[in-house]
Subunit: 472 residues, 4 copies
């Protein structure tokens, strides 16, 4: 059993959202709104830690931001510095894993929140346990905290730097004590992290959309391997590692980020529309209507429709069932036709040749279901267009794709996939097409993107065990 | 004080959603999904009453459907017949007004749920009170129930018919006893109400989108003045009133209904896109981007953009704050820029000439705020296009417009409104344009629509006092 | 089915507690504490209505006072006049029946709360329904409200008087409008109701213990058939009926009231101790320890022990499971010995001759269970002494005794009961002994007590149907 | 600030209750009832951990047992082994400190729950932190867990033994893994811990009263320094330390334990009654009534009254405000007389010479308040009798007495205290009188009791810093 647990820990998906405020009297409430704007990055749990310079105030819970926090809980989170976290958990869940994690160590209280995934997390965890550490969660975040606690360096900054030398992977990191806020980004900047200002207060957020929500101004993105230290003496920046070649996760553009966010200066909605335009250019088709799979594919579908001159219609509707309290239909009701997520709109698709634009195909099961929904609603042809390249390789940096043997594109040709999903035609966007559509003005390798899931070129070393696991 | 209360009762807005199941073992759970699909019609409260032929089971509460009901509450709602209600309350609120209302009267238990608004509700209420009745809610629904209870007719059907002779207005009506389900629609069919089937069970819903959610098939719309009676002997249809000319509320198409619903056989999204197309034809403009005000104006904006050949972009983002538990920002935070509902996306609108498509202008304050949001985000020109005609007259049938003196179009020219909302240009869709865009294949007066808010032609008599109130 | 419902309505037990404040800025909070002090009179639901002279504020819920009310709900109950209610429901339950009930009638809002039970409630209910009234609850309280609403008298006071002419039974009554508070007690004063003062504010309470809790001073008891009217002109007293001979419910002294309350100037704990003393005098026994059944029999047991010179010990312990949320043991766990209510203390009773003092025997099943508990814990003899006379007749005034055929003393001799409950000896207190022990300084018939459950002399007329029901 | 925190950690009061089940299919539900029976030992938080031999199930929360657990949470706690904890926290609180604590260490999952207090807890904590451990709570329990994790011994039993060599103080201890349950008691058995059986299942409980509740049979008390190990091979007993002289906390008899519990074979109620009897013998007084301070002094008051021949009456009533949700009165309402905890019953004490029996005097403030309550209610004389000796020294083993400078008896004569509390006379029970009244059949030093708070003879070494703190 123990090995299974370790295995599941490695699989634990840590795509999340983080947000911080330094120097604002309403730090907790701003963080609440910020986390709400990042809700799409994690619905499993939410948490905020504040400090007034003397004490921590902590509140965490399972569920959506507005389920976890009420007026009275926010009111108790006093202080002008706050860090917050929303968590998406593909694997282990539970309140214990809700972040920010809070620890007592020799110099006092320490809170830590991360977005990302370590590739050597389980190996480090075993090392810690063998030498007498007690770990309370299954998060990589706690592993980092233990290395900070074990460091014999004098200052917290030095300790954090030492700890980060052990870890390999994708991570955006917030560390809070009663004296300091430390912000760090992995040497490849695999995850997005930006800095803004609201009056005199500094704001940090996984995505820029949260700046708009709280009325903050965007300042700049955090650099690869950069560490920012905010304390009474102001803000200092330093590097904790040799910056590696920038490798921003492509999937942030493809489906993870909110369309109104800018990543590396590029608006996500606009990038998606360009992917849709390019997709039509690469794989045109004659049809009566274009429809997108809500929500992440709508922008690409509109771009596709505009270029194609085919009307864009609402052929698919997403049921916005929210929160953890929603009652799931029984298997019996499902079979009778109760739709949990998507419905096809008969009036729109009946008798029509439909182009269905989706952002990606991972296992292929969802695509098949949607194609069938459209056919049942009367579509005479269903042409599937995917606004990203085929996913051939597992992600070790936090995107919940799948093991290699579950990735339909790792084991099948496009024509085989077309048959599997029951489409009349199927086309993916090319890697080059995607990179041009995103259009980062970069001369860097891969234009500064991580393309590992498309071409297997992982920007970091990958633990041998993990690749084996991924392959088996 | 008493008069104020009566006044506020008249103003009470009763646009809501109703749903019923007759003859399905999971009647309550289906109703739960149906009400969820109708959630946009009312977020104030939700309720379901079921019967197993012997006893009622009742659960109602304030809040969203998934806040009000949990697995355990649904499990208690046994029986194969259910009626449900979601409530939107512009005026009085509170749990007491949550529907369906349940009464004990001489023949047993009776539950009643309505969508709509009576124009003579307050007059009837005063008559009842003067003669010794006790009313527990401020709803028109209860007024109808009292007239049913007072009737000396023998059968429930006859009693309901007698009661409905007293009432004037817009109403879709569900009445449940332990023996029967009665469904009725006002003689002008001001509110939508459709019938579907799921296996052998009958389903009734304010909108057809709920049929898709529960897997039911659409059968037909309920006719003006029609009353359906479902009991052990099956389904009988009858008329309780001379059907008047059909007068479907135009605002259902313009903004109230869900885009994937069909009203009178016309898909709402498609109608809105045609309104957008027609709007460009009537009021063209040169611009760089088209954006719609989420959610109800997106379809019209896409139609406008397609016809204009201007790219449609996500220039405005709606923050989907859900539920009653969301923490409201303080005035101070609002002033600092915390956005509660809409944000403009700087990257999309900065330096651009923007067409902002909205579905309607009522008071004008929202439009001015959105125009300013776009300008603050860097838009160089903001052209406002409204996909409906100017609203000049108050609605007495349940749409929460406003009193006449608050309707900006009742007292200002289009040019005056343009200045008020700070737009570079402003245009409304014409009445004729709207009717053609909706495109009901009708030879009826006004093509079968209620246009009262646009042209003052109310399909029913209006109580004198009410017009006075509206005018003052 | 309908008849069953009416039947169950008649059976509905309405022993409850009421509390009112007139003229204190913290009226709601004081009522909260008052109701908490009356919690033993009803745990099913609680409710408070306040008025600021213009509007009602209402909060009711199922459960204990401290489950139903939170700081924020109390904060919303503004105004300096409040009435409150805790409800005990042997029959029908549910939030709908929670009091105070609130109605809109022709003159405005009206709230009403009662403690007691009508003997002609179901007959009046049927009369109301036949003539078109809609009743929403199964309470007698609502019946009274409808007669008030139907009255054509000019003032509320006249209307209430007219309404009370129709009703027969036991009732302490609070009626609140935005202008007035009306307090009334049935012509036999079957239920207790007292008046106190806190500064300039008037306080009314079912029991005087609530005066101590809120710091109020006891003024006097309400008289039979008295009606008090409090409004801007002060407090007026009047009689709404010919006062009948006073008939205070004996069971208030025996077990219902709190030991620190005074009823008719007699402290309940002291009366119970005297009953215990008298009980020993009437039925002495040799034994090693005396123990009482918690909580209501402790005082009598101490009195018995003091007089007998036998040590009083804690031989039985009550598990204070509180609230509606307590998890009930499964049948299996019960059989394995999980005790829900009482445990016997082995160390105290093992090898001992035990006198178990209890306040009453109704069905006999509880007594048998307790005797067996004591025997299983090692008691060598169990002598049962009951500090009240045998209950031979059902109560129609609100005490939850039972139908006649379930009353063990109605159908068995004392010796038969002794065998049934497995006791070594059994004795009841005599009626005369009980009356002397209570010791009301009265020359009235029965010393001013209702003794109907002991001797069948009902102070009011009893509806024929009820007696039949009771007898069958 | 850091020093303050350490200080407060030392002050953290760990008087609690623990309960365990080994080998019963309803382990969690039995533990729920067991903890409920131990509720008086801690109302701050409650928790249960179960194992089915493969996985832990954990639920903890702040509040009473029946607030923390619902049917659904208990249903999730599957497995036939369970440990549970209720926590009383004088110092730090919060969910993080709720027990049982659960850790991942190198051999898997480990849960731990303790009752008691270490005297070298803060020193050990600092040692752990200096060498890189992260502590998440302010409990001594976590300190023990870290020493277990750091041990390099092979088996868990050896590790626990090694860890317990470091700790000094009072502790009853439960340790659970997926394979084993370990139960241990400190070498002086300062805290009570007993073993029972329910069918084939072993039950462990801080007090025997919980055995009665779940229907278990008492087997024996755990011995000083004993460690029990329960696993598939059955139950083994061993000693982890040289048993020291038995030193059961006297305050368990005086006020902490439930009256129906037996400690070391002596019933607590009976011991208290004997203390009351002895108290009258040592300090007789002429009076009219005897009253006890609820709940813990009732037994002693009854004993006093029986011996004195003075009637025992309910002169003081405790308001059983339960749960964390109770609304506290404002200062204003308190001053107006709203009583939160105790009321004096005027009818009982007015014009009387009252003996008020209480179990102890710590700071003296409570006694003064109660004497004044009695005087305000009309008592003409108030004689205070305390059924334990004067408390002169702080407790370092978990009883929430106070620092020495707050202990009124440490700095005042009995006559001075009498004046301070405004009594007509005051007497304490002698140490010898108390020991004889408890009556442990023991030839051990101090009859096997810890008397440190009375005579300063601490059974263990006390950290120098602590005494200093206590003295300052």
């Amino acid at each position: 059993m123990r090995d299974e647990t370790i295995f599941s820990l490695d699989k634990l998906n840590e795509e999340c959202g983080i947000f911080a405020v330094y120097g604002h009297p309403n730090a907790a409430q701003l963080t609440y709104y910020g986390l709400h704007a990042l809700q799409h990055r994690g619905q499993e749990s939410a948490g905020i830690v504040t400090t007034d310079g003397r004490f921590f105030r902590v509140h965490r819970g399972e569920g959506l931001v507005n389920e976890v926090f009420q007026n009275k809980t926010i009111a108790k989170l006093t202080g002008d510095v706050a860090i917050g976290h929303v968590r998406y958990a593909a694997g282990g869940s539970g309140l214990a894993n809700a972040q920010p994690l809070v620890f007592n160590y020799v110099d006092g209280e320490l809170a830590i929140a991360t977005n990302g995934n370590l590739v050597n997390g389980s190996k480090l965890r075993r090392e810690l346990e063998k030498t007498g550490s007690i770990l309370q969660t299954s998060t990589d975040t706690e592993v980092i905290a233990h290395f900070i606690a074990r460091s014999q360096k004098e200052t917290l900054v030095e300790r954090v730097k030492e700890a980060l030398h052990y870890v390999v992977g994708a991570y955006a990191l917030l560390i809070l004590t009663n004296d300091e806020l430390i912000v760090a980004l992995d040497p490849h900047s695999l995850r997005p992290l930006s800095m803004g200002m609201l009056g005199d207060a500094y704001i940090f957020s996984s995505e820029t959309c949260a700046f708009d929500t709280v009325g903050a101004e965007f300042l700049r993105d955090i650099e690869p391997g950069e560490m920012l230290v905010l304390n009474r003496e102001g803000l200092q920046t330093t590097s904790f590692a040799q910056p590696e070649r920038r490798s921003i996760c492509s999937f942030e553009y493809i489906y993870f980020a909110r369309p109104d966010s800018d990543i590396s200066g590029i608006n996500v909605h606009a990038a998606r529309k360009r992917m849709g335009r390019r997709l039509f250019a690469e794989a045109p088709v004659e049809a009566d209507v274009v429809t997108g799979v809500p929500d992440s594919s709508i922008s690409a579908a509109i771009g596709f429709a505009e270029t194609a001159g085919i009307p864009y219609e609402l052929g698919l509707i997403k049921n916005r069932y929210v929160g953890r309290t929603f009652i799931q239909p029984t298997q019996e009701l499902r079979e009778q036709g109760v739709k949990m997520k998507l419905s096809a709109v008969r009036k729109v698709v009946e008798g029509k040749r439909v182009v269905m634009v989706d952002d990606s195909i991972v296992r292929g099961t969802t695509s098949r279901r949607i194609v069938n929904l459209l056919r049942e609603a009367g579509a005479v042809e269903v042409h599937v267009r995917i606004s990203s390249p085929p996913v051939n390789n597992p992600c070790f940096y936090g995107i919940d794709t799948a093991d290699r043997d579950q990735l339909v594109a790792a084991n099948h040709t496009v024509e085989e996939i077309r048959k599997l999903i029951n489409a009349d035609s199927l086309a993916f966007l090319s890697i080059e097409g995607m990179l041009e559509a995103i259009g980062r003005p970069s001369t860097e390798h891969n234009r500064g993107h991580c393309l590992a899931c498309f071409n297997g070129e992982y920007p970091t070393a990958i633990e041998q065990e993990k690749v084996v696991e991924g392959n088996k």
